[in-house]
């Protein structure tokens, strides 16, 4: 996910206005100037870099021909730039890993010929590519190195760019305190240099941080301050961006009316400057807000407009999102809306289905699993409503699979973020210590001066990509919440099932106590009650946890068996055997798993026997599975008794449901199997071996 696109620096000439003129003249030069020398290489490089923003395939071709030219004429300087140009195009194409490799070659060449500033630029750009790949740690490393170089060379643009990127990475890591620090440092630099563009950009970014911190009022204040500066400079593109961001905050504040007003303002400007991506972004965001206001027709039309622009500019993913959003809107809209959309109510399902299928194809192509999971969800709901359960189930499975892809991805990113965040804090501490020592040696104030004096200009902070991807990010968060909710649902169902076990088991035991009292066995009643209280306490505690150490489960099972042995004296003997290599404290199993099966074996296996019998429990590991076997040498099957599988108590049925939910929760294949012994019955519970540590 790309939130911000940073454009660099140094070697690149500004392309803010008259982009076409620059391109045209370069193309002309390239055609006319055919001498194989460094001048031609320069032209090819510039052309390639210019094209990286619009037509990276061509850009790449120019870079390649420049690379072979530079190799022929042995110009390391131009060769470095050519690799840089190639990397820029690769990055535009989303091939950031390859881009990094090319930046690296350019960096090595520049280092060899001693071009320090260019080295800084390569590091800075590598950082951006790492950021795009979600390698935040690497990204920070690169930006930090780049920052050091820029500061040393007192290159203001570079310093600002690096600070800015560091701020963005920190923001992505939700490390808002560092993000704000970086932005304030950049604000500080800009104020000293009276550079109002950077001041405004820093203010805007600080506003974004506050938005992320849900301090929405502060966010609005900062963004408005930024807006005022952009307005003074009549910088239309940025004014539109500011309006859009402010609209976004109002949306978050649940003020869809106000939000719409600002999107409208942004839209007007974007229309004037013919900025198609901006226009489409505005429309899609407006569609979302309009739907909040139940203005379905207008919302639908806005989404429609967004969709056709995204399709025109070949922004596939956003086009897919517009389709998906449209379908969701149709499915939710009241019947009365349809005439004004030119769709008959009876077509609601077929139109939505077509939209969703089209979106599905697009997302499969772009590999956006989060959106795919969304689409499957909508389709699944549709089939379910129309009673087509077979298709609904199919799509539900798809959805789960996609959701897992997202979760795995997000988990990976999450861990990376956390590692990073922690390293951050540690390194900062080390730096602080080092700094204090240095300052003591070198008279602190001078050092501080030098540090803060380097100036800079912040770069394109808030690019067009920001808006839609912001909403998309919201979508992703939403999705994640949904997945969490589903997990929560499973957990709570499991908990409810565990709790059902308790009363059942309690009454059985109370019944035994009453029996002892009836038979005047007061000492036995007393012993039994004390043990029962212990077991009850343990069961209550264990059933609060979805999983417990095997040792705890065996302890409660043993206590249960000892109670039953008292009750059935002398008919029941028992043995529990655990493979010696297993560490029962470290193995986790679902709590209260064994008891119902042990109880079943006692009731159906042991009690019918006149001479009594034995329950043997054994625990074995085989590969990645734990096998818990419960044997009785009891009655087994006989013609006058129900078949094995039908001899199921309430508790066994609950256990089966638990195993099914456990499988859903952990995406595994735990199972329960019944085997006929001679004599007796064997129950084998197979669950994945899970360790606590």
């Amino acid at each position: 996910m790309r939130i911000l696109i940073l454009i660099l620096l140094g070697i690149v000439t500004s392309i803010a206005n008259g982009e076409h003129n620059v391109l045209d003249s370069l193309l002309k030069q390239a055609q006319q100037y055919r001498v194989e020398d460094t001048n031609r290489a320069s032209v090819l490089n510039q052309l390639s870099i210019e094209l990286s923003n619009s037509d990276f395939e061509k850009g790449m071709a120019y870079a390649d021909s420049s690379i072979s030219l530079c190799k022929r004429i042995n110009s390391d300087i131009k060769l470095a730039t050519a690799y840089y140009a190639k990397a820029r195009n690769l990055s535009s194409d989303g091939q950031d890993s390859l881009a990094i490799a090319n930046y690296q070659i350019a960096y090595d060449l520049n280092k060899k010929i001693g071009k320090e500033l260019a080295c800084g630029t390569m590091l800075q750009n590598m950082g951006i590519s790492f950021y795009n790949l979600s390698y935040y740690k690497k990204a920070t490393e690169m930006h930090t190195k780049a920052l050091a170089i820029f500061k040393k060379l007192k290159n203001e643009k570079g310093t600002s760019a690096a600070l800015n990127s560091l701020g963005i990475v920190a923001m992505e890591l939700s490390d808002y305190s560092h993000a704000i620090e970086y932005y304030f440092e950049s604000l500080d630099l800009a104020k000293r240099n009276n550079d109002s563009v950077v001041i405004a950009n820093a203010l805007m970014n600080i506003g974004i941080v506050y938005k992320n911190l849900s301090d929405l009022n502060k966010a609005i204040t900062y963004m408005n301050n930024a807006l005022r500066i952009y307005q003074q400079q009549s910088n239309d593109l940025y004014i539109a961006k500011a309006f859009n961001n402010i609209a976004n905050v109002y949306g978050e504040m649940k003020q869809p009316g106000k939000s719409l007003e600002y999107y409208q303002k942004a839209l007007e400007i974007n229309k004037q400057s013919d900025y198609e991506y901006g226009i489409a972004s505005n429309y899609i965001n407006m569609g979302i807000e309009l739907r909040q206001l139940n203005r379905y027709t207008e919302a639908y039309n806005a989404l429609d407009k967004a969709g056709s622009i995204f399709r025109k500019i070949d922004d596939k993913n956003n086009y897919g999102i517009s389709l998906k959003t449209k379908a969701a809107l149709l499915l939710a809209a009241p019947d009365s809306v349809f005439p004004s959309l030119g769709i008959s109510v009876s077509q609601r399902n077929s139109v939505s289905k077509n939209l969703l299928h089209e979106a599905q194809n697009i997302f499969s192509e772009t590999g956006d699993y989060a959106s795919l999971s969304d689409v499957s969800d909508e389709l699944c709901n549709m089939f379910e409503k129309s009673g087509d359960y077979k298709n609904a189930l199919e799509l539900y499975k798809q959805r789960v699979a996609y959701r897992d892809c997202v979760l795995i991805d997000e988990n990976k990113i999450e861990v990376e973020k956390l590692e990073m965040k922690y390293d951050y804090a540690t390194r900062e501490q080390e730096l602080k210590v080092a700094n204090i020592q240095k300052q003591a040696e070198l008279k602190s104030e001078q050092l501080k001066r030098k540090y803060t004096l380097a100036g800079g200009i912040a770069l394109m902070l808030i690019s067009g990509g920001f808006f839609v991807s912001y909403k998309r990010r919201k979508d992703a968060l939403h999705k994640r919440k949904e997945a969490e909710l589903n997990t929560e649902r499973i957990e709570s169902e499991l908990k409810a099932l565990r709790l059902q076990m308790n009363p059942h088991f309690m009454f059985n035991s109370l019944n035994s106590i009453i029996n002892f009292i009836d038979q005047h066995k007061t000492q036995t009643a007393s012993d039994y009650s004390v043990k029962f209280a212990k077991l009850m306490r343990m069961v209550l505690e264990n059933s609060e946890n979805p999983e417990v150490p095997l040792a705890d489960e065996l302890q409660s099972t043993e206590l249960y068996l000892s109670l039953e042995a008292i009750r059935l004296k002398p008919k029941l003997t028992y043995a529990i055997d655990i493979e010696s290599s297993l560490d029962a404290e470290n193995i986790m199993i679902p709590s209260m798993l064994l008891q119902p099966f042990v109880e079943n074996s006692i009731i159906h296996g042991i009690t019918p026997l006149s001479d009594g019998g034995t329950i043997s429990i054994s625990i074995r590991q085989q590969e990645q599975w734990l096998y818990i076997t419960i044997d009785d040498n009891g009655a087994g099957i006989s013609p006058d008794k129900p078949a094995l599988t039908e001899r199921k108590s309430m508790a066994i049925k609950i256990s089966n449901e638990r195993i099914a939910l456990f499988n859903e929760r952990h995406q595994t294949h735990a199972s329960i199997e019944y085997v006929q012994l001679n004599p007796g019955t064997r129950v084998v519970i197979k669950i994945p071996l899970t360790l606590q540590f």
Binding site: L418, E419, K421, Y422, D423, T426, A533, R537, D583
Partner: protein, 247 residues
């Protein structure tokens, strides 16, 4: 022979103990009386000066702690009796005070009374009780650790890490001090669950306040302020990083 009283608002609980106590031969307990309210309990104690008080936690609308507060410089040992007050159990464990769960098991009663006989130092008792009263309802600052020489109170904030050694646990404290305690690591893990302790590994519980750095790896390892390094189990890595991240 030990002089004892029972304070409990439920007659059947008093009866249960009174029925069990004659079965205990070592030490022999001589009952001096019973009380069913806190106020009766206070006057019972001041009248008989018992060596041992069986004290219920919830006594009508008051608690056994109210009773202890009313008697400064207690010269008696306490065994709490309780059915299920979990917050209290945690507090007792923290001060290494004994307690019995109701309905009382005769074997557990025997074990608790053997300990009464063994330790008779009054200053330790009053420290245990004063730490208990300080700790009720809040997070106690100190933890009572049974050692060979009696109970030592250690500030939780000075524990750098706990290392499992079979049924014993080594405590590594700030200032390079070490203690070996006959409690399992799991017991310490449960006791310190509300503090910034984290079980990074089967055999190590670490105070995250002392973490200097985390080094990546399959599970990675932590460097602590005492320059020791502790391995992190790969299964615990994610949760550990989450914890560290939120600190």
């Amino acid at each position: 022979m030990i002089k004892a009283v029972i304070i409990d608002d439920e007659q059947h609980c008093i009866d249960r103990l009174c029925n069990l106590l004659p079965e205990i031969k070592n030490p022999v307990i001589k009952m001096s009386g019973t009380a069913q309210t806190v106020d009766e309990g206070i006057s019972l104690i001041s009248k008989h000066h018992p060596q041992l008080v069986f004290l219920d936690v919830q006594i009508a609308d008051k608690t056994g702690f109210d009773l202890l507060k009313a008697i400064p410089d207690a010269q008696f040992q306490v065994i709490f009796t309780t059915a299920h007050e979990r917050y209290a159990l945690q507090a007792f464990r923290f001060c290494a005070l004994d307690y019995l769960l109701k309905p009382v098991d005769v074997d557990e009663l025997q074990a608790a009374l053997l300990k009464v006989n063994a330790s008779k130092n009054n200053s330790v008792i009053s420290e245990q009780i004063s730490e208990l009263l300080k700790g009720i309802g809040t997070k106690p600052r100190k933890i009572g650790v049974p050692t060979l020489n009696g109970i030592v109170f250690v500030p939780v904030s000075e524990i750098i890490r706990c290392h499992a050694d079979g049924n014993y646990t080594e405590l590594h404290l700030a200032g390079k001090k070490q203690m070996v305690v006959s409690k399992t690591l799991k017991e310490f893990e449960n006791l310190l669950a509300d503090y910034s302790f984290f079980r990074v590994h089967h055999s190590d519980l670490v105070n995250l306040d002392y973490v200097k750095s985390y080094n990546k790896g399959k599970g990675g390892y932590l460097m602590l302020d005492d320059n020791s390094s502790v391995e992190v189990s790969s299964r615990r890595k994610e949760e550990l990083l989450k914890k560290l991240g939120s600190m």
